[in-house]
Amino acid sequence: MKPSIIINKLRQFIIFSIWLFIWQLGHFLVGNELLIPSPLSTLIRLAEMLQTIDFYRQVAATFYRVFVGVMVSLVVGGISALLSYKIRFIDELFKPMVTFMKTTPVMAIIILALLWFKSGQVPIFVCFLMVYPIIYTNVLTGLRQLDQSLIELNKVFEVKPVLQIKECYWPQLIPYLKAALQLAIGIGWKVVIAAEVLAVPYYAMGYELLDAKIYLETSEVFAWVIAIIILSQCCEAMVNRMLNRKEATYDYHKGSI
């Protein structure tokens, strides 16, 4: 390992330790396991949870809802952004809808969704409503930032549309897509869990969170929160890796001199 990497790891470890210490201190000062459980009891609870099959079913069910919600938003958001870019009427038609989606409180949307859908579908629908405007807005901004001078180049040299998209437009859109997905995944996990708390579908991390709270299992609540954070971060890292690799091939061919 290079020294710079070791220093980096060391710094990360120190930062992690400081926050862990603050947590421990909080637990110590409050002095009540029911209000702030200790890191150790949270860890033990998490370890116990990891040994049950239900944990994986709940994680899988919630992950599935986030995945479907974000994916549908990505596809629908991408296509509708393209339509808005091309057709001014669609752009203006969508504007109030997107504003509505952006400003309506999540809780209001969840309550409406509870009236319309089955409990397992509520979180997916809510996730879509929250994530869709992010994808739509970012992709549309990306499209509007496309280099006009290259559009003229493509026109004069009669470059085939497939090649235009692959080598000219797609590389320009990746940064916008990356930013959108990063936001989308974080928000996706949060709203899916929130919707699960209210919709209580059978297998759901949000439901377990509520259950733990009802039985005053605060260490379990903490354990679930940690599981959620780790999962959300992993998803983000995975998507980043995928898009970074794609971006690197376009990124000025850094290694090729």
Binding site: F157, L163, E167
Partner: protein
């Protein structure tokens, strides 16, 4: 023959061309000379079909395969030098042809060692030559060059004139070359002076 007949073009209240008449012979290089702002770039953009015009007629351009070296380089920084040139060729030529063309064009622009360079790692003059190479390699029937040798030093310019002339001797096409440099215009072929008097404030 490309005939520009009574062409008028204005932006808002600025008249750029008023009843402009120009004839350009096929299969030779014709340079357009004229001071900055006299409408040379506008004329090329009109010929390329990128700019609408108010009235007049353009004969002999429609249906022609056009290559255009824009006043700006318009290279894509996420592609290498070679890929930038290949980009405009791929839709028109087979893979082997593209490779062949790229080899000979890199020799012409004297950048053989730079094929895999990222655009951001090239100097201004090198970028200009890649953009020139891209327009030449395309082998259009009509080639529009907007200040092709901008930013190049004299020695390099002169050896490029030779290369470009030799290239067109082999593959004749109609070239319209915009320049400020009268010597360049004389050396490359015929030239036409675009009169700045055609530019009138309305």
């Amino acid at each position: 023959m490309i005939i520009i007949k009574d062409l008028s073009k204005s932006y808002d209240n600025l008249i750029v061309h008023q009843r402009l008449n120009v004839k350009i012979k096929e299969n030779q290089i014709t340079s357009l000379l004229g001071p900055s702002g006299c409408g040379k770039t506008t004329l090329l953009r009109i010929l390329a079909g990128l700019e609408p015009f108010d009235s007049g007629e353009i004969i002999g351009v429609q249906g022609k395969k056009i290559a255009y070296l824009f006043q700006e380089d318009r290279l894509m920084p996420w592609l290498t030098a070679e890929e930038n040139i290949a980009y405009v060729l791929k839709s028109k030529y087979m893979k082997e042809q593209v490779e062949e063309k790229i080899d000979s064009i890199f020799e012409l622009i004297q950048l053989q060692g730079y094929k895999n360079y990222g655009i951001d790692k090239l100097s201004g003059g090198m970028k200009r030559r890649i953009a020139l190479g891209r327009a030449l390699a395309y082998d259009g029937e009509l080639l529009l060059l907007d200040e092709p040798f901008k930013g190049l030093d004299d020695a390099l310019k002169e050896s490029l004139y030779e290369g470009v002339k030799a290239y067109f001797a082999q593959k004749p096409c109609t070239v319209i070359n915009v320049t400020h440099d009268k010597k360049e215009a004389e050396y490359l072929g015929e030239y036409i002076y675009l009169d700045s008097k055609s530019l009138i404030k309305a």
